[in-house]
Symmetry: C2
Subunit: 312 residues, 2 copies
């Protein structure tokens, strides 16, 4: 079913999963930006806690127009670059091909559905700690599981379809831990339960997770932000129980000090995924008449910091 | 009525007003901390847009126990140091003396009332731009008006009393612009309409007023915070009209770039007046069943930054 696979955005996420799929014997085509020349000569390297990979000969491209049409298009770009998908996806997606987006937050599935049609979109949530540390060189530090689901129009849930099962099998055979969800949107809101409070506040307060959980003043704020995520999800008929919030707080209390992805972006002067993680959830909730003041404030703070980050 | 005056906290505020009162011929006694030795030898100097002052011989003290009992005690400390008033005020306040607190935010009047009795507390709101730039050396850059009111128990309003008029006359004679209010609490909440959004957010975003007003994303956030100040005031029967909020936003849009007092404190590693400006208004509103989410978030952010400021 997924004979030809391509990776759009060969970075920390796309590079890692693409390399695993290629190492397992799949035909994988990789789109590169600045790393193209390096990879053509030296190949793609992954140093991973689950076993290193070195791909000496890589199907590397610097333009989507040169790529073959693929049965599975995996989008590993940062959500802030999704504008270019309008041009790329029609070039690389086979007529009956599927697009799997591995992006954070809300909004990407809908954008992609508008380009390739709603019945061809799959979503994946990555729980992984990996970084691109050099050209064509990815370090995978921990975790790696992907949670998969089918995109559904009108905020519905499509259940577990045969192609979702097929995708899950493909990943499993390549040694990629995964789980299938009958309700992608619920999965996305659940992931926001962590990303909104901890990812977002770490930038505003310039603090690691460990520094934040050590300050008991912040705990009610995290809980208030989570309560708003629960309200946002509820506006779309998804229930996230209080116990889930409490468990997330406890889990973070015990985490080793961690610099969140948004903070890494902020410190490196890269644009943060503020719209996908805060803006879109805020607007979606508002579209159902639900006002979320804590998230509104966080969104405006992060938007300001996104604009002013270059002066750091 | 106010024959002997003393200044508790001879810094940017207490030093400026105290020096003006002394220069006008009043008997003024100043309590110093680290500047005592310098002032004993070199006097107190004020460089001011309203005319410089040099007091060669100053009634300077380093301990409240050595000071005479005064008819008017002016408190110019930062609100974060109010703990020491329990010891100081009984030592320096004459039996029928009054205490005037020139502090920001809410809570100080009540604290002082508990020490000297509610009928002896006067409040002043300073609209002034002044800094202590060296030992015994104050620079007064702009403005200078004090708005005066009588403290009233149970959040009431006492109107304009004879002693308030007398205090106003004393200040006027010393060249200090002032205005008397019949309702001190209303004046305090009105001042918070600016201090909460602009002073508070400038620290969180590490931005001057000019940088903040240039970002249109922040305008609705300032308005939301002001709406909460209006709600807090309304919980105590004080109406602040929307037009006041709009006027404050417009005024700030046109201000010359300004580093707020809280940001100056933050950058200098000094404790910020978070409790007086955010914590106390938040708690007072909550005591009347009014939850203010934007202010709650700002309060927790600033509390965290207050704790972590030493690491800068």
């Amino acid at each position: 079913m997924f004979k030809k696979i391509c990776i759009i955005g060969t970075g920390a996420i796309g590079g890692y999963y693409g390399a695993r799929l290629a190492a397992a014997g799949n035909e994988v085509h990789f789109l590169f930006h600045s790393d193209y020349e390096h990879v053509k000569t030296h190949g793609l390297k992954v140093e991973s806690v689950r076993g290193d990979i070195e791909l000496k000969k890589v199907n590397a491209y610097k333009s989507a127009a040169e790529m073959p049409k693929c049965d599975l298009v995996i989008v590993g770009l940062k959500a802030v670059k999704n504008d270019i998908l309008k041009t790329i996806l029609p070039l690389v997606t086979a007529d009956d091909g599927q697009v799997l987006t591995l992006q954070n937050g809300l909004g990407a599935d809908d954008e992609i559905a508008k380009i390739v049609g709603a019945d061809r979109v799959l979503g994946g949530l990555c729980f992984i700690c990996s970084n691109k540390v050099g050209p064509g060189f990815i370090k995978h530090l921990d975790y790696g599981k992907i949670t998969l689901g089918e995109y559904a129009t009108d905020f519905g849930a499509k259940g577990i379809t045969p192609r979702l099962k097929a995708l899950s099998d493909l990943l499993t055979e390549a040694g990629i831990e995964n789980e299938v969800l009958g309700d992608l949107l619920l999965g996305r809101w659940r992931k926001l339960m962590w990303n909104i409070p901890y990812n977002g506040m770490s930038v505003v307060l310039n603090a690691t997770t460990a520094e934040m959980v050590a300050d008991k003043t912040l705990r009610p704020l995290f809980r208030s932000l989570m309560a708003e995520v629960q309200k946002g999800a509820a506006a779309f008929g998804r229930e996230i129980p209080d116990a889930f919030a409490e468990a997330m707080i406890e889990m973070t209390d015990k985490m080793t000090p961690y610099m969140t992805s948004m903070m890494l972006d902020y410190r490196a002067g890269r644009e943060m995924e503020v719209e996908a993680i805060c803006g879109e959830p805020l607007r979606l909730a508002a579209s159902r008449g639900v006002h979320l003041p804590y998230l509104d404030m966080l969104y405006r703070e992060l938007t300001h910091l996104n604009l002013s980050r270059k002066s750091l």
